[in-house]
């Protein structure tokens, strides 16, 4: 560990390389020679040819390797580079770049270790550095875990600064003016006489220079873009129907396709009868694929219709066939041999509960689909020993490897072109849809195949968020929360997901208890235990992952204890909270919502708090209990992110996270019968609609100085804040999601 810690500090070695007619700049770390055998497979110089800034005769291109799933990642990555490079955002193009280990995500792997974000001790810091090194060695180019901004904040500004200073050096050599007398502005070096040398004109000179690496990042007080509202680079395209998503791919000679595999996920395909489908208009070919078959046709709708006409003989589900059977399995998992973790064990919970009046409750949350509005889709062309893939993905390098494995081609012959995603919420951390399309393309060599899933295929093959049961016990004393013992049983998201990526991770799964064990509360006797339910329906990361459900399990029961103690829900959370930035978040939301004032007749206010992905978030929900059901009136949100990079996008992400959390809590679940998900389209899986949307008031706090992402952290407190508000308005404590199983919504 000590040597790895040393390596971790050797970040920001800088490279530049001549590219055709221009220059490219990158930052990369752990360059050879490093005495680590794991590095020996990393090709020499590989990082240097995959940079962040490329300047040639056609202009300036910023490489934004983290996927834009709607969260504005391309824009924020470009702004970080542009701030230091001194270019305006209308002078540059963005390009997601090729998959490369140079674009590893140093922050996402740290989420896999049981290190509380509030823990800044020696072990935690070393653990996080180790996460960074693991990510580097694995070339972990992943978009997820709200890590894009946290990972890119220094890295991309540094890339911009190095490029700027090297261009200044080039200008100095060309003009004979010393570097110290040159400045930059809007894509050009400014000479003392006011003349300009454009970056594009300087690129050929810069390409021959050693990059200038002794750069200083700008003082935030001098920022032109960061910290201010910027116009998203994709906003015009996304307002005019001209943004090209994966599903919009068009190529000469392209054919359209869809696939069907066993809707009992993981069940076998025993056979099929496609005689009727083969005769249907427009059908070009029916291709067996792993676990099912695909239809290739001249129109997507014809492919859909023919796929429907195939008579499949599906095998049974490799998991309990009904939701009742699944709940039974989860409920039976609170045993010693299924205990997965006990990362929180303060005081002596058993002793504390022995002599106290025990408060007990069981909570349940269901399987949930990601269901991004753009269904899974990919376009693949296999031609002359080269495979081209056009799709949206969060895992480009895993996908390349999967493609190489499937086709037998060398990774060098796989060309992945990453397109904008019509949402993801974690779904595009899987590559199943691309592997299926590759199988179709292999049967259609020389012809591009665009494969689109029907919504029903998407909903039945979603790799949902795990279902969970918690069993909680607690006690109160002298008007205060005194003891909390929380046991959570869930499927292992990490085990399920990393096994599919051929990167199995041993040891306890932090996701089972994330958002519960790591909360900054000083409850005297406080224990959180995770129990691993044996694999059932395969599961994956769903916006805010483990915390997405654990926020409800942890904060919901905490709210019960606070009410049992007769304490004020906000004041007691603040009293219990030892972490100063989290306390500020709670106080802020109290002030915003005028907590303590009379909410009015038939109205209730609920507060909830979850710290996830290093971001403490407190939310207050206000509801009215109308004769027709619960109406959500207002939501107040305070979040600590260290620094708000773009206030508009920040507010968008928070509002979206709140609506995501509330909508699914209101009315979404996947239930199973005969091994099949019973919800196969948006008629049975609605989420929130516009008429139900409350006013949402957002405040970003900037107290910690550590920059964090905001895509996921607003989700976990939304459901408990709503349930707590319903309790305040009605006296009804709902311990199961979705809430509409127990109460109506307007």
């Amino acid at each position: 560990m000590s040597r790895l810690g040393k390596i971790a500090r050797r970040s920001f070695l800088i490279g530049s390389v001549a590219v055709a007619g221009g220059v490219a700049f990158g930052t990369y770390s752990y360059r050879k020679p490093v005495e680590n055998p794991l590095l020996q497979d990393l090709p020499d110089g590989h990082a240097a040819i995959t940079p962040y800034v490329r300047i040639d005769a056609t202009g300036i291109t910023l490489i934004t390797p983290r996927a834009d799933l709607g969260q504005g990642a391309y824009s924020v990555q470009a702004a970080l580079i542009a701030e230091e490079l001194d270019v305006t955002l209308d002078q540059i193009r963005v390009d997601p770049g090729p998959p490369s280990p140079a674009y590893y995500n140093g922050k996402v792997a740290a989420e896999g270790f049981p290190l509380a974000a509030t823990d800044d001790g020696f072990l935690a810091r070393n653990g996080r550095a180790f996460g960074d090194v693991v990510a580097k060695l694995m070339g972990l180019q992943i978009t997820g875990g709200s890590s894009t901004v946290a990972d890119a904040f220094d890295k991309l500004r540094m890339a911009g600064a190095v490029a700027r200073e090297t261009l200044i050096l080039a200008a100095s050599q060309q003009s004979g003016v010393p570097r110290s007398r040159l400045t930059t502005r809007d894509g050009a070096v400014i000479l003392p006489d006011g003349g300009t040398l454009s970056y594009v004109s300087l690129a050929p000179v810069a390409a021959g220079l050693d990059p200038v690496t002794d750069v200083t990042l700008r003082d935030p007080a001098d920022w032109r873009y960061l910290g201010k509202a910027m116009q998203r680079l994709d906003i015009v395209a996304k307002s005019t129907g001209t943004q090209a998503y994966g599903i919009d791919m068009q190529l000469d000679g392209m054919v359209h396709a869809t696939v069907r595999t066993n809707p009992r996920m993981g069940g076998e395909m025993r056979g099929y009868d496609a005689r009727a489908a083969e005769k249907m208009r427009g059908v070009i070919k029916i291709v067996p694929i792993i676990g099912g078959a695909g239809v290739i046709a001249d129109n997507t709708w014809r492919a859909f219709a023919a796929a429907d006409a195939i008579d499949f003989d599906w095998g049974p589900a490799p998991y309990p066939a009904t939701s009742d059977g699944m709940w039974e399995e989860v409920g039976a998992s609170f045993t010693r041999d299924r205990r997965d973790s006990r990362f929180r064990n303060d005081g002596d919970v058993d002793a504390a509960l022995k002599d106290a009046k025990m408060i007990e409750a069981e909570y349940r949350i269901p399987y949930l689909a990601h269901a991004p509005l753009e269904p899974m889709t990919a376009t693949v062309l296999l031609k002359d020993g080269r495979l081209d893939i056009w799709t949206a993905t969060q895992i480009p390098r895993f996908m390349e490897q999967a493609a190489a494995d499937l086709t037998g081609l060398d990774v060098a012959d796989i060309h992945l072109h990453v397109l904008a995603a019509g949402g993801s919420f974690g779904r595009r951390l899987e590559d199943d849809y691309v592997r299926q399309t590759i199988e179709l393309a292999m049967a259609m060599e020389g012809t591009p195949v665009k494969m689109t899933w029907r919504r029903e295929e998407d909903m039945t093959h979603d790799f949902p968020r795990t279902l969970q049961i918690s069993r909680a016990r607690g006690a109160v004393r002298d008007g205060k929360v005194a003891a909390l013992d929380l046991k959570i049983a869930a499927l292992s998201t990490t085990a399920s997901q990393t096994a599919r990526l051929n990167q199995p991770v041993p040891g306890p799964d932090v996701a089972i208890v994330a958002g519960a064990w790591d909360q900054p509360f000083a409850i005297p006797d406080y224990r959180v235990s995770g129990y691993r339910v044996p694999a059932m329906v395969p599961v994956s990361s769903w916006r805010s992952v483990g915390a997405s459900g654990n926020g409800f399990l942890h904060d919901g029961f905490l709210d019960e204890l606070i009410h049992a103690a007769g304490a004020d829900p906000l004041a007691e959370r603040i009293r219990l909270c030892w972490h100063a930035p989290s306390r500020k978040v709670l106080k802020a939301v109290g002030e915003m919502s005028d907590w303590g004032s009379d909410p009015g007749p038939d109205r209730g206010r609920g507060v909830a708090f979850t710290l996830s992905f290093g971001v403490p978030v407190a939310e207050v929900v206000e509801v009215t209990n109308t004769p027709d059901g619960i109406r959500i009136d207002k939501v107040f949100v305070a979040a600590e992110v260290g620094r708000v990079i773009d206030p508009v996008n920040f507010e968008n992400q928070v509002m979206g996270g709140v609506i995501w959390g509330l909508g699914h809590a209101m009315n979404c679940e996947l239930t199973y019968d005969d091994g099949l998900p019973e919800q196969t389209n948006f008629d049975a899986y609605e989420g929130m609609r516009l008429y139900q949307t409350p006013e949402i008031i957002v405040r970003g706090l900037e107290n910690t100085g550590t920059v964090r992402g905001i895509g996921e952290p607003p989700v976990p407190p939304a459901a408990p804040a709503l349930a707590n508000a319903i309790f305040a308005a009605t006296g009804q404590r709902i311990r199961e999601l979705p809430l509409n199983k127990h109460i109506d919504f307007v």
Partner: protein
């Protein structure tokens, strides 16, 4: 059969029951209207037929009774429709996949109801699903577009 889309008349050879969406996307190459559900639940495929907002995934090609306008025919990046300009101004889109449909629904609303109140906006826009949760900004953008179209 013949179909007029964004002012151009096309002769197409498709089954009578092919949904308009797939005629637009796969036969005519107009990819602005999106496929999201295929059963009129999400609204991502919304287009206008003679100015009326219609779910193109659920209307058969043979049943199209008038001229079709898609998002591409409403306005372009260089010549934004007032609704699109409001969407840009308010930075509504996140993933953006539903926004073609949202914008077409809003444009139809404002043609019929130039000064909609909150309830009318809720009614007209609630059949369009947004998984990213852009609803607060959609509400604000509809109001901005309404004011602009009324010339106030």
């Amino acid at each position: 059969m013949q179909l007029t889309v964004n002012g151009t008349t096309h002769t197409i050879d498709v089954e009578e029951d092919m949904p308009l969406l797939w005629v637009l996307r796969d036969e005519l190459g107009l990819t602005g209207p999106k496929y999201g559900c295929g059963i009129s639940q999400c609204g991502a495929c919304t287009v206008h037929i003679d100015g009326e907002a219609v779910r193109s995934c659920s209307i058969a090609a043979a049943d199209v009774w008038g001229s079709v306008t898609t998002i591409e025919g409403l306005g372009t990046p260089d010549a934004l429709h007032a609704v699109q300009a409001a969407w840009v101004e308010h930075q509504v889109a996140q993933c953006g996949y539903c926004q073609s449909g949202q914008i077409m629904a809003a444009a139809a609303l404002l043609t019929d109801t130039p000064d909609p109140n909150d309830a009318e906006i809720d009614d007209a826009m609630s059949a369009n699903l947004c998984r990213c949760g852009t609803y607060p900004r959609i509400r604000a953008a509809v109001k901005t577009a309404a004011a602009k179209l009324r010339g106030t």
